[in-house]
Symmetry: C2
Subunit: 168 residues, 2 copies
C-alpha cells in the first residue's frame, strides 16, 4: 500500500470510530489528517484535502481547538493561520477523557447524586429497585470518575504499568 492510500484509510477509519463514539465524523477526519501530516496546514489545504466547505473547516477546527487537540500558529510575515495536531497519543487520550468527563460524566453524576437521595418505602419493590439501580450506577460512575482523575494526573508509563499489574 502506498502512503497516500494509507493516509486515506487512516482518515476513514478514524472518522468512522469517531462517529461511533459521538464525535462528528468530519471532526475526527480533520484530526486524523493533521495527525498524519508532518507540516502545519491552512484552512484552505484542509478544505481541499477532505473536500469540505470553508464554513465546515472553520467550525471543525475551532471545535478541535476547544477540545485541546489542535493548535494554530502564525508564520512570520504571513496572514494565514496554520493548524497542527498534538501527535502524542497519550496526550490525545487524556485530553479526550478530560473533556468527556467534564461535558458528560459530570452532569450525569450531578443528577445521580440527586436521585440517590430520593426517599421511599423500602418495602415497596418499585422503590427498592429504583434505589438499588441508581445507587449502584452512582457507585460505578464514581469509580470511573476516580480512574479518569488518576489517568489525567498520570504519566503514560505509570498508568499503563499499573493497568498491566492487573494481569499479575
Amino acid at each position: 500500500m502506498e502512503l497516500p492510500e494509507a493516509k486515506q484509510k487512516f482518515i476513514e477509519a478514524w472518522g468512522k470510530l469517531g462517529s461511533e463514539w459521538g464525535i462528528n465524523r468530519t471532526m475526527a477526519q480533520v484530526h486524523a489528517l493533521l495527525l498524519v501530516t508532518s507540516t502545519e496546514l491552512t484552512t484552505e489545504e484542509i478544505m481541499e484535502s477532505l473536500s469540505i466547505s470553508r464554513g465546515n473547516a472553520n467550525m471543525t477546527l475551532r471545535d478541535l481547538m476547544g477540545w485541546g487537540l489542535v493548535e494554530k500558529l502564525h508564520k512570520a510575515g504571513e496572514r494565514k493561520e496554520y493548524f497542527f495536531a498534538d501527535k502524542n497519543t497519550w496526550n490525545i487520550a487524556r485530553q479526550v477523557a478530560k473533556e468527556r468527563r467534564k461535558r458528560e460524566l459530570e452532569p450525569v453524576m450531578k443528577i445521580l447524586d440527586e436521585l440517590v437521595k430520593v426517599k421511599g418505602d423500602s418495602k415497596d419493590p418499585e422503590f427498592a429497585t429504583f434505589n438499588k439501580s441508581v445507587t449502584d450506577i452512582n457507585k460505578m460512575a464514581k469509580n470511573v470518575d476516580k480512574t479518569l482523575e488518576t489517568m489525567l494526573k498520570a504519566e503514560e508509563n505509570w498508568f499503563w504499568g499499573s493497568i498491566f499489574k492487573m494481569f499479575k
Copy 2:
C-alpha cells in the same frame, strides 16, 4: 422528589448519556425504564410508558437483547412476552464493553495492523509522521484491548480493587 418523577429523571439522563456515546436515545431509555422497574414489562407497557410506537419498541427490545442487556420471559398460560433487564451494574458495564470491543475496536485494530505494515522512506517526514502516529495509536489500541479483556474476565471487586491500587 417523588418516585415517578425520579424515574422520569433517570430515564432522561440515561437516554442523554447514551446518545452522547453513540447509543440511540430510545434504546437507552427503554433500558433505563427496565432498570428501575421491579416487574417484567410487556411491549405494550413499554410503548405506553415511553410514548413510542409498537415498531420502535419491538426493534429497540431486539437490539437490547442483541446487546445482552435485556431478556424476555414467557409466563405460563400467557402469550405475551415480558421483558426485563439485568440489574447488575457490573454485568451491564462488561456487556457494553464486550459488544463495543467486538463491533468497533476490533475492526479498527485490523485496519491499524495493516497500516503499521506500510513501508516507506524513513527520511521522508511525511512517511515518518504517518508511521509514528499509526504505530503509537496501534499500541494504545492494544493496551485498551488488553484492559478490556481483563475486565471481561474479572470479578467486579477484583477489578475495581486493582484500579484503586493505582492510587497507592
